[in-house]
């Protein structure tokens, strides 16, 4: 049945067009023979087609356009005085004899247009006449099109400033009155469409079906139901809205309307109609229209009036979009030229907008949270464009948002996305995070986000800092910053720890670590305060986070030590400054100790050794010794994995080798322990290598470095014994001798110290080793090892090149036979 309706409409439209064209044909014939009377008769018949109620707006428009074309031709005829054989005033009377009111009025408007052009009467009188007479059509659809026709034909005949129709009697005010009245009436018709009774149409429908289907039709039409009907009407109304909006467009084109006239007459009248019609569709469209059509300067100057209308609108109107649209226009206006900015200040734009939004929110207590946030977002964008230097405004907006959010609990869904965008806007605008930190309400807004969104925001904040490469330079700012990003720093109270993917967690914490690198101040005192502030915050992170966040802090502190160290060397007396190396090392010690709660002994050991070396550079022997002690304890008690032990041991040996601050006793204790650890490693080759590495502990190339040739040799011999033992083990367990690589390595170490001038290394011992290697490699049970062969060859080549060097080196190496 419904599809039948559409088909029927097509039929009616075709019939209407046919009727129209037929009458138009006769009308033209009459015009050709200058038969006014007949022409008018046929034109009236033609226009009668527009009396139909059967067409939807879309189809009616088609019919209307054809009539419009024909009326244009008629108008041209009317203009030629000689042809019409009567005066225009007579014509004006003549057309009013048409039988039906609709054709009558169309003809009247057409003649009226010619009348105005003839200037035989004041434009304003004719216009007034016409606009009043159109009241005769109260049917919404027909009335809208009629008045639209009136608007169209009168457009170029308004008594505007500078137009030919202006005179003593005709002023701009008359033009304005005319358009406003037409607009008002059209709006009323338009609104009435919403509540229109579609009764007549139904009766016609029912006539099409036999009595038998009468009840069936009633039943089905009842099924159309109110909701479906409403939807249909809204669709139809939307199709017609531009007809109404056109009037506002016409108003905007009237040059005679200056700011005063707009402010005192035009805008108030428009708004009056908008508010009083109490129709949400109309209100939304017209408010938007007003904002788009009139210039921005006018909006600024009439801001209060415009905004005053907003709370008076129907609650179902999407006032948010309207206000956002307004603020966007004003933002663009501000961005277009710097000169207009003072205007904004002068009209107190911000205050008015802020109030308006507040009122709207108050008036609609059921407004969903994300709606309110959208409003504040638009205001924020506006403020950032227009008053970027007014942080207090920005803060105000944040504060207003906080009050709105309070009592709503944590946000979800759409609202969180909006809030994130809302909070990111200041970060993007102000590339220096310092400024964002000054907004006192900023952290308060964050309180209302759920954990996950909090983390998202924290990430946004850190990314902003990293992107702009800003260095946060005071302890207070650092504290504020870490408060902001506390979602990343620690577990937030709201239980329910949603399982975070491990990789994501690592990424997140590494991000925080990178942030720590961005904290810097030239002044050591301030830098120390920063370090302490960071320490305080990351300590709340719990064992999962500490391995990520403590190392960067340690290194920041070590960098500070270096800076202060050079200052220390210059200052001889004890200054009252607290940023001394000693103080920093205390903090370092405490901080690394916390890692034992995780525990991560490998990491802690490395950090202790780094600190030991730093203490060494500051000549703080006891401090360095303490760090070494801690490292050794970790090695003995916590590090049991053999591979980890080997690495740890090399770090210990490497660091110890560089220590120059230790006295003989301390040094002896530590080296003794180190060589002990080396000999106790699990695998023999590892033992061997560690032990010969220890040989370097007794030979330091610095001018006052230790050069104990004997103990070096002892180490090397011990290594040799271990290598021998390894070989024998290989013979027993694998049936073949193991690799000779260890021997070659030891040989190289012999050569190293021989070259450095260790007198305990004799040519004989070197020769003996060379022979040992050669024998081993040629023995029957030897496994072929090309790497070892290559190593040996290159070693031999090295000896040869040393011999070829000449001078004392050559002399030294000469006795070695290869």
């Amino acid at each position: 049945m419904i599809s039948d309706g559409v088909e029927d409409e097509e039929k009616w439209l075709t019939a209407g067009i046919a009727g129209l064209q037929q009458n138009a044909f006769y009308m033209h014939r009459a015009l050709d023979s200058n038969n006014i009377k007949d022409a008018l008769k046929y034109s009236a018949q033609m226009l009668s087609e527009l009396r139909t109620s059967r067409l939807s707006p879309h189809k009616y428009y088609e019919l209307y356009m054809r009539a419009f074309d024909e009326l244009r031709k008629l108008e041209i005829f009317f203009k030629e005085e000689s042809r019409r054989s009567c005066s225009i005033i007579e014509l004006y009377e003549l057309v009013q004899h048409a039988g039906n009111i609709l054709p009558r009025l169309y003809l009247l408007c057409t003649v009226g247009s010619v009348y105005i052009k003839s200037k035989e009467a004041p434009a304003k009188d004719i216009l007034k006449d016409l606009v009043e007479m159109c009241r005769g059509i109260q049917h919404p659809l027909r009335g809208l099109f009629l008045r639209s026709y009136l608007s169209q034909v009168s457009r170029d005949k308004l008594p505007d400033i500078g137009s030919e129709y202006e005179g003593d009697e005709n002023t701009v005010m008359d033009a304005v009155e005319f358009v406003l009245q037409n607009f008002t009436e059209m709006n009323k018709l338009w609104v009435r469409m919403q509540h229109q009774n579609k009764g007549p149409k139904k009766r016609t429908d029912l006539n099409h079906f036999g009595i038998g289907q009468f009840w069936h039709a009633i039943g089905l039409s009842g099924l159309l139901g109110p909701a479906r009907e409403k939807e249909k009407r809204e669709k139809e109304r939307n199709e017609l809205r531009d007809l109404v909006g056109k009037n506002l467009h016409v108003l905007s084109q009237i040059e005679g309307i200056d700011l005063e006239l707009y402010r005192d007459v035009v805008l108030p009248r428009i708004l009056e109609q908008v508010v009083n019609c109490k129709d949400d569709l109309a209100q939304y469209y017209l408010m938007d229209c007003v904002i788009q059509v009139f210039p921005d300067e006018y909006h600024l100057q009439t801001l209060e009036t415009l905004l005053g209308a907003c709370p008076q609108l129907q609650p179902s109107v999407d006032i948010r979009t309207v206000l956002s649209g307004l603020m966007e226009r004003l933002s663009n206006y501000a961005a277009s030229s710097v000169e207009v900015l003072p205007e904004f200040v002068q009209v107190e734009a911000f205050a008015k907008l802020n109030n308006a939004i507040g009122q709207v929110i108050e008036a609609q207590p059921d407004m969903p949270v994300f709606g309110a946030v959208t409003l504040y977002s638009s205001l924020l964008t506006f403020t950032l464009h227009v008053h970027p230097d007014r942080l207090d405004y920005v803060d105000q907006i944040l504060g207003a948002c906080v009050s709105k959010l309070s009592g709503k609990g944590t946000l979800e869904g759409k609202a969180t996305k909006q809030i994130v965008a809302f909070l990111s806007a200041p970060l993007e605008k102000y590339s220096d995070i310092d400024i964002a930190l000054k907004l006192s309400n900023y952290p308060l807004v964050l309180e209302y986000l759920d954990d996950r969104t909090n983390k998202v925001m924290s990430n946004v904040i850190i990314q902003s800092i990293m992107k702009n490469k800003t260095h946060i330079s005071t302890a207070d700012k650092v504290g504020a910053l870490f408060e902001l990003i506390k979602g990343l720093i620690k577990d937030l109270d709201s239980g329910g720890d949603d399982e975070m993917d491990e990789d994501d967690f690592k990424e997140e914490q590494n991000f925080v670590a990178r942030l720590v690198q961005m904290l810097y101040n030239d002044d050591p005192e301030e830098m120390l305060k920063i370090i302490c502030t960071v320490k305080k915050h990351i300590m709340t992170g719990g064992p999962k986070r500490l391995p990520f966040t403590i190392p960067p802090l340690i290194y920041n502190a070590l960098k500070l030590v270096r800076r202060v160290q050079s200052q220390d060397e210059n200052a001889s007396e004890e200054t009252t400054a607290s940023a001394t190396p000693k103080k920093i090392f205390q903090i370092l010690n405490q901080t690394i100790e916390v890692l034992s709660t995780v525990p991560v002994p490998d990491l802690a050991l490395r950090l202790y050794l780094e600190c030991a070396e730093a203490a060494n550079d500051c000549d703080l022997e006891p401090v360095a010794y303490e760090f070494f002690t801690q490292a050794y304890i970790l090695y003995e008690e916590e590090i049991s994995d053999s591979k980890a032990q080997v690495t740890a041991l090399y770090l210990i040996i490497g660091t110890l080798q560089r220590m120059h601050t230790f006295g003989v006793e301390n040094r002896d204790t530590l080296t003794h322990k180190a060589t002990g650890y080396s000999a106790k490693l699990l695998k023999k080759p590892d033992q061997c290598r560690a032990v010969y590495a220890c040989s370097h502990l007794f030979w330091v190339e610095d001018q006052d470095g230790i050069k104990d040739g004997e103990r070096v040799l002892l180490c090397l011999k011990r290594a040799l014994r271990i290598a021998n033992a390894a070989q024998q083990m290989a013979n027993v367990t694998k049936g073949s001798s193991g690799s000779v690589t260890l021997f070659i390595e030891i040989l190289n170490k012999y050569l190293y110290f021989f070259e450095k001038g260790n007198t305990q290394i004799t040519v004989a011992s070197i020769q003996g080793l060379i022979e040992l290697v050669t024998t081993e490699m040629q023995s029957d049970t030897a496994t072929s090892d090309p790497a070892a062969d290559a190593f040996f060859s290159s070693t031999i080549r090295y000896i040869q090149s040393q011999k070829a060097k000449g001078g004392s080196t050559a002399e030294k190496f000469e006795p070695i036979k290869v």
Partner: protein, 188 residues
């Protein structure tokens, strides 16, 4: 002409937040044929970043590296040259050229690339070349004061290798180059 990037000791995120912007803009994908990395990246993101610059990525393990599967040493043959790679914390004394030369002999390579000291070095001796690309981020080192960010680009062409070192000094990138020629009898 084969371009090899030697880079290492970035220590991201413990000691440095990121590569210097000027280096990042210079290192674009598709220009380099191999990357050899001495170690101490330290996190996966850095590995992925280097991999995006060039799929042929070789890394040896530094003591802070998150990934413990990197090898202690690695040898690669590129053209006529044999390159050896090792982080360097295993070679005591740290930074000692003679000890490094021993490692070079042991790996039997023409060019040994190692790091750990964060100080750029390019040293030629009878048996070959020892290169330390320094720290690409200028990270703190207990061994070296005042570390400038640096990396090395080697251009291997037949028996000749040109070593370009890029250093960021006071915000400006300074380039230096050193030439090495290998005689065909497997020694430089």
């Amino acid at each position: 002409m084969v371009l090899v990037l030697a880079i290492g000791d970035l220590h991201i995120p413990h000691r440095a937040p990121d590569l210097p912007a000027k280096f990042k803009s210079m290192l674009v994908p598709g220009k380099i044929q191999h990357i050899i990395c001495t170690g101490n990246l330290c996190i996966k993101e850095v590995h992925d970043y280097l991999k995006s610059l060039c799929p042929s990525l070789h890394v040896t393990r530094g003591e802070y590296d998150e990934d413990s599967r990197y090898p202690e040493t690695k040898t690669i043959t590129i053209g006529q040259f044999k390159l050896g790679l090792c982080h360097g914390h295993q070679v005591v004394p740290w930074g000692d050229l003679d000890s490094l030369a021993m490692l070079q002999r042991q790996l039997d390579v023409d060019i040994l690339v190692s790091g750990h000291t964060h100080q750029f070095k390019a040293y030629k001796h009878e048996a070959g070349v020892v290169i330390n690309p320094g720290s690409a981020t200028g990270a703190y080192s207990s061994v070296t004061y005042d570390v400038n960010p640096s990396f090395v680009l080697m251009d291997i062409d037949g028996l000749r290798v040109v070593v370009y070192v890029y250093e960021l000094i006071d915000g400006e990138v300074k380039v230096d180059k050193i030439d090495f020629k290998k005689t065909s009898t497997a020694t430089i």
